[in-house]
Amino acid sequence: MKRLTRAALLGVAAIVAMPAAAQDLTTVNAIMPKQRSANYFPLIVGEALGYFEEEGVKVNLLPSDTPIPFVNFLRNGQADIAMMDSAEVLQAVAAGVPVNVVYEVMQTAPDGIAISAESDFKDVSELKGETVGLVSDRDRVTMQIALDARDLTEDDVTMVVVGEAGPTLAAAFRDQTVAAIAGSGPDWLAIQANGIAIDLITPSEVSAKPGNVFVALDDAVEGKSERLEGYLRAWAKGMYVATIAPDVVAEIARTTVPEEWEDPTFGQQYLENAIRLNVSVTENAGDLQTETWSSIQPAMMKFGLIEETADPSGFLEPKFIGPANDWSKDEVAAEVEAWRAANM
């Protein structure tokens, strides 16, 4: 009878404690360019394995294709952290917004110049006098840097925006309506996975810059540092899982985003590309590459993206990198195996 009473009491305590624990989670409002996707697998892996919850964090993802700069959503308090590209960061710095790069999500830019595999062009230097495409106007600077690396300018080519919609972009490649297209990795992948062969002719100067980084304002860096630490630690652990168990990541992505896996071959290729982009190249996950931030600025200044260079120490905030990497790889490996045993 005593056992029964104790069990009942424990059960009641557990029921009472569960909602309380759920209520204890602090929401981190994160604005990113896409919905939950394999493209940003550290988020969905971190959620599936409970890493965000362990940190007392609940991620409220704010996926947005709005033309309003993400930094405005940091300023009006709707977002605590934003995923931005290097150009957006430098423009915000130039505008005097107190932004801090706290973590580099993609340490090499996914941007590139692609051509149809059947094209006669083999290098950007051969594009003089040709019409070249941009996936969106944001890719203009990618094309400008690529042309500049081959001693060409914007005036040497005709630039047209071919659009972000998959079918339009694919048709542009297949029919070779433009000589080359500036865009990013995921754009090409969807096309390749659908049987349209493409080649990349990206000069190294284009990819030598951080692709996407997490940014927070001064207020959040000071006032919300605990929740940001937890968020970044969970993100880093989610990223690490891909290096030890990509099959587990694939299973999680398949369950979370079935829309990307209706064609399993496509889903797998999409994920592999995402892993290549998301896994940090620095020793510490998400570490801030001060030299790279200095070296990318002259080109951006040359193409009118910024008016003057900024000292990276003014906007790179390294205080989160240590805490984001403060976890045990063995523990994560054990948790992954436990998840695999339970779910696969």
Partner: protein, 288 residues
């Protein structure tokens, strides 16, 4: 037997409706067959026109095996209905007020015109920035889209009341409320319902714009995801779902129109008159 007689005979026997259905099915089957052949032979670009059989398989996948469309569909429908109700109530309510007062009409009109002239797609991001990323901003966009047609139609209906009828009501010393209830509102009803039909037709578009700009779920998100990975068959499933949804919503609004504004249809008017007459005589019989 003349053609008209034959039609009447067919209609009364029920054969007519079956023949119409059969014709529609034959036309649809012909179109789909031509599309399938065109896609298989390469005449139609598969990047833009997936095979109907693939779309059919997509319906089965999205609705049954994966079942991932339901949540998105539910959210979009909820946004559409909430935004439609809110926008229409606001539009009709404001128009009723404005219709009763010349001064209010004079001052409000320019703002209403400005609000209509502003492109929704341009103002969408601003609404999201103002109202946040949640449900409210999506509903606000749909509401904005649904506001104008009911407002203009209601106002037109209120303002264009027959002057002779108005004079007659006044000569009978009808109060303002009586004039509104017995004359202006019934006169305006066909136009109000016309406005509601237009609003409902635009509501789906408004919800999609909102979901394209910023959303975690909804059919707009699903269409974006599928076109992004060139899964055009599944994208078509979402688009066709919206088409069917729009069709049923429109027919629903037509039925509502037919039911409320019965006097615009002779047969319905006769039906209602007969019913009222019957009710009246029953009441009289009870009295006697």
């Amino acid at each position: 037997m003349s053609a008209t007689d034959e039609t009447s005979a067919l209609a009364s026997s029920g054969q007519w409706s079956w023949r119409i259905v059969a014709n529609h099915v034959a036309i649809l089957a012909g179109l789909l067959g031509a599309w399938e052949i065109g896609a298989r032979t390469g005449f139609l670009d598969p990047l833009f026109f997936p095979r109907p059989t693939d779309i059919l398989a997509g319906f089965w996948r999205l609705y049954v095996t994966q079942g991932n469309i339901w949540d998105h569909l539910g959210l979009t429908v909820a946004e559409v209905l909430t935004g439609f109700v809110a926008g229409s109530v606001l539009g009709i309510g404001l128009a009723l007020l404005v219709g009763m007062s010349d001064r209010l009409r004079r001052y409000l009109k320019p703002y209403v015109i400005i609000s209509e002239a502003t492109p929704r797609i341009a103002i969408g991001p601003v609404i999201i920035a103002a109202f946040g990323f949640g449900w409210t901003s999506k509903v606000a966009i749909v509401m904005l889209v649904c506001f104008f047609a009911p407002f203009v139609n209601t106002l037109n209906g209120m303002v264009n009341v027959d002057e002779n009828e108005m004079d007659m009501m006044r000569s009978m010393r009808a109060s303002k409320w009586q004039i509104f209830r017995k004359l202006m509102l019934p006169d305006a009803l066909p136009e109000i319902l016309g406005g509601l039909r237009l609003a409902m037709a635009s509501a789906l578009g408004g919800a999609l714009v909102a979901e394209f700009i910023a959303s975690n779920a909804g059919l707009g998100v699903l269409i974006n995801q599928y076109t992004g990975v060139l899964n055009m068959a599944s994208a078509f499933v979402c688009v066709l779902t919206l088409t069917v949804l729009g069709f049923f919503i429109f027919r629903g609004m037509e039925a509502l129109d037919h039911w409320i504004v019965f006097w615009s249809d002779r047969r319905r008017t006769e039906q209602v008159s007969r019913r009222r007459a019957r009710a009246w005589s029953e009441r009289m019989e009870k009295r006697t």
